[in-house]
């Protein structure tokens, strides 16, 4: 009976180690804190109506940012744990982590950073910006979009569930290579948590991607042919098409892995005729394009930023678009370079090596195109441009090490070493994360109506860049010294230790950079009058997202613009902005269906991790029922009349004029870190001295 009700859960599944205690306390504490705050502020209704059931891609984008930002901090803590262990676990000392625990940490680090940080940030940006850039009011299917987000969030919770129950995550590396991830070698629930957190969020990604392909193809403003689409939208489009093409492979592969572990099938086992090498192939057929799914929107961001901040149109729009299409096309046919060392023949290896190198051609074309765009421009070095300039250096180093790794005989010496790890961190930090930071600082005025604090932002940039060099230059060297990745222990005779310590220092510097970014955002809100962007177009930008208010109204545009050139807004600014015609607008109604389905999906995953059959069945039925009700809901929209739109617009204009006055009266400058600390201290003093906490 107990087994029927609770599956494999027993007393041992409860937290009983320091890290599971710590993790559980942190998560429960954070949850309780949020519940108390929301209850005290009486915000539950607001939370439900404005956020949880929202179908507005702008709000969903913000929620993606919040989840990803939180996960970035968590993934960052794991980095520090990894490097702390590697700095001290030498000779007789085995550090403060067991080998198994250490392996779980880097596995979780990889999954969190790729799935829940990079992916989340990218989806957040696409959600917020793409509809605005193409002059659309909403997405092709607003419901699919909420569903995609909440599945993503459910996956993010699943990846943290092991703290509370089970106490172990996969200890297999981020792709859980077979047969190590099979029941034979990983009998615990760790790999099951891995499977279901990726499965749930992966399905969310597929749905989101389908939606954006539909949106971009079908909902562009009149006049915006594919050849006039802004470059970020192009990057997002390529990326989403790739996601549609490869995420089903991940879904299928994860199901097969699940059959192996749960039903005792023999797909990837060493016995019974299974073929572990097939797993390696399948997972990388998804895994390699995945990196480009993250990278392409960032290429788009950089293209926009370079053009805007050089105050010039992009040098060759056609080459830029072709470059992005080229990268995404070739990226589908290079997966084998992740396992040259598995013993394929020279012809096969050489073929995939060439395919990999070919990707360097469109990538270089993009870089050259950006150089030409800056040439004879008027370059403004605000933080978005700084992130771009940092990106180029790191990305070039990463790119060159990537081409080295694409040469099979060289790869034999570099594969699985820290050189490889340094390579892909150059790409993912230098390319994706810097791209995301570039995008966020570029569009922050759009999100909030406030410019980000420049001063602290610049410090954050330099801390990130210096921290990156401190961490990853030694890592390249370590790889050349023969240090393999994922080592929880080594001998001091290797001489690696001082470099590991430098890496740890670099990690701390990056952590300071991250902290500065959080400070930057808080400081921006503190100085909101001073930093208010009264123009709606703070960067003198070129594309349509700047042709509406910041932040935009929930219907995005009062009148859908007509587009006649690539830089639609730039042209509008120079040829005169057309008059506003108020009209009725169809607005999708809020829906909780996405939230409910994701809750059930989470329960399905949880049930299968712990083999609780009844819960799985009940939850699957739950999903189906919600789907039916949603599917046969014939009135998912309501109409906002022209009159209402006009009232809303006039109210907003009035408010904006008041804010502009406040902003013009404010003569302060961007605060620095020291000012910020002073403010925090005086705030804390105020609370203590005047006993303000009593009110709470």
């Amino acid at each position: 009976m107990k087994e029927f009700l609770l599956g494999k859960i027993n007393m041992d599944s409860l937290p009983h180690e320091w890290f599971t205690f710590g993790g559980s306390l942190a998560f429960i504490g954070l949850g309780l804190f949020l519940v108390i705050v929301i209850t005290r502020l009486k915000r539950w209704n607001w939370l439900w109506k404005e956020w949880i059931t929202t179908v507005d891609p702008k709000k969903i984008g913000i929620m993606y940012f919040l989840v990803s930002g939180f996960m970035l901090v968590r993934g960052g803590l794991e980095t520090l744990m990894i490097w702390l262990q590697q700095s001290f676990s030498v000779d007789k000392s085995h550090g403060f982590l067991t080998a198994d625990h250490f392996q779980q940490i880097f596995t979780a680090h990889g999954n969190i950073m790729v799935f829940f940080v990079a992916m989340g940030f990218i989806f957040g940006l696409i959600n917020y910006i793409v509809p605005l850039q193409i002059g659309a009011r909403d997405l092709a299917s607003p419901f699919l979009n909420t569903l995609g987000f909440w599945l993503f969030a459910a996956g993010a919770i699943m990846v943290s569930m092991f703290f509370l129950l089970g106490g172990q995550y996969a200890a297999t590396g981020w792709l859980a290579v077979a047969p190590l991830s099979g029941k034979e070698f990983s009998p615990g629930v760790g790999v099951d948590y891995w499977i279901w957190s990726l499965q749930i969020s992966g399905i969310g990604t597929t749905l989101g991607a389908i939606n954006f392909v539909m949106t971009i193809l079908k909902m562009r403003a009149p006049g915006m042919s594919l050849g006039k689409m802004p470059l970020f939208t192009w990057g997002a489009f390529c990326s989403m098409i790739m996601a549609v093409a490869v995420f089903p492979l991940l879904t299928a592969t994860l199901f097969l892995m699940f059959f192996d572990r749960y039903l005792g099938a023999h797909f990837f086992t060493t016995v019974g005729g299974g073929d572990p090498m097939m797993y390696t192939n399948l997972i990388w057929m998804w895994g390699h394009p995945e990196v480009y799914i993250l990278m392409l929107p960032c290429f788009g961001i950089f293209s926009e930023v370079v053009s805007t901040f050089s105050r010039k149109p992009i040098a060759s729009y056609k080459s830029n678009v072709l470059g992005m299409i080229g990268v995404s096309t070739f990226a589908l046919s290079v997966w084998l370079h992740h396992f040259f060392t598995m013993g394929a023949g020279a012809d096969v290896n050489a073929f995939f090596g060439v395919m990999t190198m070919i990707i360097a051609i469109p990538t270089s074309a993009l870089v050259f195109n950006w150089i030409a765009t800056m040439y004879k421009g008027r370059i403004n070095f605000s933080t978005p441009m700084l992130w771009f300039l940092g990106f180029i250096a790191v990305f070039s180093i990463g790119g060159m090490s990537g081409v080295l790794l694409a040469i099979p005989p060289a790869d034999f010496q570099l594969h699985n070493s820290l050189f490889l790890v340094a390579h892909f961190h150059s790409m993912v930090i230098g390319g994706v994360l810097f791209g995301v930071f570039c995008g966020i600082s570029y569009w922050f005025p759009k999100f909030t109506g406030l410019r980000l604090n420049e001063r602290i932002g610049r410090y954050a940039f330099w801390f990130w860049t210096i921290g990156f060099c401190l961490s990853f230059i030694p890592m390249y060297i370590l790889g050349l010294m023969g240090a393999t990745r994922r080592l929880d222990h080594y001998d001091s005779s290797t001489g690696w230790r001082p470099l590991f310590i430098v890496m740890l220092v670099g990690g701390i510097v990056i952590a300071v950079g991250l902290a500065l970014q959080i400070v930057q955002i808080i400081a921006t809100f503190i100085q909101k009058n001073h930093l208010r962007d009264t123009t709606g177009d703070p960067w003198n930008a070129r594309s349509l997202e700047w042709a509406t208010a910041s932040p935009p109204p929930f219907y995005n545009f009062t009148t859908i613009p007509e587009v006649s050139s690539i830089d639609a807004f730039w042209e509008m600014k120079h040829n005169g902005i057309p008059e506003t015609k108020y009209q009725d607008i169809h607005i999708p109604k809020n829906t909780a269906a996405g939230f409910y389905i994701s809750c059930f999906a989470f329960l399905v995953g949880f049930a299968f991790v712990w083999e609780i059959v009844w819960l799985a069945v009940v939850s699957i039925i739950g999903i189906i029922v919600v789907f039916i009700f949603r599917g046969f809901n014939d009135e998912p929209e309501y109409i906002l009349t022209a009159r209402e739109v006009q009232d809303l617009e006039e109210a907003r204009t009035k408010k904006h004029l008041e804010r502009t006055k406040l902003a013009n009266d404010d003569d302060t400058e961007d605060m620095g870190v020291i000012d910020f600390i002073k403010i925090v201290i005086s705030f804390a003093k105020d609370i203590v001295v005047n006993k303000r906490w009593r009110k709470w």
């Binding site: 009149p222 023999h266 009209q583 014939d634």
Partner: protein, 197 residues
Amino acid sequence: MVNEQTPTHHQAEADDRALFGFWIYLMTDLLMFSVLFAVYAVLHDNTDGGKTGKELFDLNLALTGTIILLVSSFTCGVGMIAARAGRKNQVLTWFGLTFILGLSFLALEFNEFSILIREGHTIQSNAFLSSFFALVGTHGLHIIAGLLWIAVTLGYIVKRGLNSNMVRKLAMLSLFWHFLDIVWIFIFTIVYLRAFV
């Protein structure tokens, strides 16, 4: 977008988008199936000393299933024509027929699986059977989903009548059903026919 003011046009655009989105979804589903096909192609010889497909499969049974599914595709198509013409009773009849045919296909498959399992040939036996059950079983799950979909849609048509929303839903449903038919033809060829060649 001036035209947006007219609600019918707005609806037509939304329908068009939904159908297009459904096509993309079918593509992702097809990709998932192609993984299962590829896995079957790699593993179908790895019987670990167990029986091969030739010894296990009943070609006549599979052929019967195939014919049933093909006919169901036909009835589904006729039902769709009726739906476009707005003939509610015919829609109910033809899709009802499709439902019954689908159900009998499922029964055949269930029968095949239960015989195999009773004789000790399960998903755990060897890689060949793992990939067989995964591929054919996934198709079967899709059929179940399709049947559920048909049943619910017909229920709503009885309740709400055959409005334009229902026609759009039927259009997607019939796409899905034809899609399953096509996947099955591949399964029939690659799994069953090939075992006997």
